[in-house]
């Protein structure tokens, strides 16, 4: 329950942050990669560093991660199939053989069917997710966003201590 509350809290904060819809959408799209792919993978260190370092919504990244973890679980059979198809395509074998014998690259677990399948899916899904989210945030802010901002419970959320931590990573204008 607490997790859901925190997720809602993050979502509300992200939607009303100072960041642009593009920053929020980019954060969510990057966070989706964390959620869709198995977490303990080297590429996720890079994704996390990007969420922190790039001027995107950190809260959006966390929301995207939290939202897409269950999606990742649900789509694992599809990821497995995608990864298996790619890894066992003879035309790609020389490429994967080179990667497999290149330092550091094997640590990404790219040769695991679920890891590769989910990463490929997440990368392909990144662009449509970004644009769809940006459009949705723009519409939200133009319609009911201001009313939510004026509500009591929104002020209660933003007054919590966690909000101060969040401010450290909020997008910069």
């Amino acid at each position: 329950m607490l997790t859901i509350v925190k997720l809602l809290q993050s979502l509300i904060k992200a939607l009303h942050s100072e960041g642009t819809p593009g920053q929020l959408a980019a954060g969510i799209a990057l966070g989706a990669i964390l959620g869709l792919t198995p977490l303990v993978s080297l590429h996720n260190v890079l994704i996390f560093a990007l969420i922190v370092m790039l001027n995107v919504s950190f809260a959006g990244g966390m929301v995207g991660w939290a939202l897409f973890v269950p999606v990742g679980f649900l789509l694992d059979p599809l990821f497995d199939w995608i990864g298996r198809t790619l890894l066992f395509t003879p035309a790609f074998t020389p490429f994967f053989t080179s990667l497999y014998n290149t330092p550091v690259v094997p640590l990404t677990n790219f040769n695991n069917t679920v890891t590769l399948g989910s990463l490929v899916f997440a990368v392909v899904f990144f662009v449509p997710l970004y644009f769809a989210t940006r459009w949705a945030v723009t519409r939200y802010r133009a319609t009911i966003g201001e009313r939510v901002r004026q509500s009591k419970w929104y002020r209660a959320v933003t007054a919590s201590k966690l909000y101060n931590v969040y401010r450290l990573f909020r997008p910069e204008a």
């Binding site: 642009t20 920053q23 198995p38 303990v40 560093a49 922190v52 370092m53 790039l54 001027n55 990742g72 679980f73 694992d76 059979p77 990821f79 497995d80 990864g83 298996r84 890894l87 066992f88 074998t93 994967f96 053989t97 080179s98 990667l99 497999y100 014998n101 290149t102 330092p103 550091v104 094997p106 640590l107 677990n109 040769n111 695991n112 069917t113 679920v114 890891t115 399948g117 450290l168 990573f169 997008p171 910069e172 204008a173």
Partner: protein, 587 residues
Amino acid sequence: MSIRVFRWRAIGPLLLFALLGAVLWVLFADRIARRSAEKIGTAIVGAKVEIQALHINLANGDVTVRGLTVASPHEALKNLLQADELLADIDVLPLLEKKIVIDRLAANGLRFGTPRATDGRVPGSPESSVSGRVMGEARDWAQRFQVPALQLATGKIDVATLDPRRLSAIPAAEALSARADSSRRAWQTGLDSLRLAATLDSATATLARLRTARATDLAALNEARRAIDQLKQARNRVTTLERRVTGGLAELRAGVAGLDSAKQRDYAFARGLLKLPSLDAPEIGIALFAPTAVAQFQRALYWTQLARAHMPPGLLPRADAGPPRARRSGSTVRFPREHALPGFLLRTAELSFQLDPTASPPKSYAGRLTGLTSDPALYGRPTLFEASAPAVTAGAMLDHVHATARDTAGATVQGVRIPVFQLASLPMRLDPGQGTVQLGFTLRGDTIRARWAVRSTHVAWARDSSASGSTVTDLLWRTLSGISDLQVDAGVTGTLTQPRLSVRSNLDEAIAARLRAMMGEEVAAAERRLRAEVDRQVDPAIAPVRPRVTVLQTDVTKRLAEQRGRLDQAQKDLEARLRELTRIRLP
């Protein structure tokens, strides 16, 4: 309004986060590595792998493992091995390629077959784990051997039901009877078709006219000659019929003789229904020691097949089950490349071990293992193991370099404590004490050749107190308990799909001789009972057939002889009268 791409002020927290990760690595790397090693080891062996402590020193490329325990995948409360300490000298750079290359491993204080408090087996499902699949295959292989049960405990001879439908003499008798009937009808038809009565009547009438005729009566003389010709033709027809009858009768007599053969076959079939205790020495050996021998071969096959699964030949990409995690594991595909390092390579291991930890003082031995690798085709040389010491010789070669894998292992251990044998089918135990154990195992492709031998000169016997004694077991107990030495030789040859097992021991002949002496009279009585049963069922079918054939033979032969006699007599009379009329009389 321009938006900056980078959030520079987040560098501080990010570095802090990285520092935190480094601190966590220092604090927990050993623990994580230990748990990973336990998990991977357990998955490979198919039994619990436990490590008391593991320390990684990446700066020096050292890994130290203390208190390693590997449970036996075959025995619940036994360890496969325990090691006091393993010191590994690893190459650090290949770790970046996720490859583990150990230049040198020193294993100290190895002990085999030590007891453990809890069941260490990890039953993996054949679908999801390699060890589970290999274990299932080895178990299925062992079940191919049909080990006959030695029914010595009661010494009872059982007789199965004799089904008359499976006796061959009865249908043979019925068929012969039918053939005799049809032959009788056919011959009767043949006799009727000869039309001898008309020929004989004509000859009789001609003879009567000839008696009153004169020598100049040429018409009568010609008529007589025609009658003689007809008689000759009739006799030829009789001769033809006689030949047919003779052939037919010969077949019927052969059929009668065949009934005796069929009855002998029925006796043999009935003897096969006797459920006798095996009296042949080789079968007794199999019944006594096959379960133990097959268990040894099954274990050797398990380890060999496990090695083949984890050390496959060839350079093609291959998939293994992915790492266990909350999400789907998937498959992890390896892409070996020529001249690259294997995923795992142990170049050299120096092993120091004890075979009998209970011995006082414990005897220490030394062994050497080289070229243990996950990609034998990349390493290019077979995995070798050798250990030699006074009273111990052991060696193994796993050659998976080429397409057809060749695995060989052999060991001879003298003066080792041999486990107690619970003799199958006999309520007694055999304690060989200290003796010599040999195991040889070769698997080329799927062709297997294995040998297991046990020698002991100080055998102790113990009888199960719970088992109820019978006369047979009492006598066998007296026979066997006087034997003080033990020699068992078991072997498997053939292919994995069609293996052949042979087991011999010095106990076999002793048991067989005793059994023959004891069971011989009972067996003979049982055979007599079965012969009587066969006679009871077969004789009513056979008995009427034999006289029927005899009567038919007598009847037909007699009738043919009669007909032939009448024809001969008529011809003789006519010829005599003709000679009389045509004789020239001198005045």
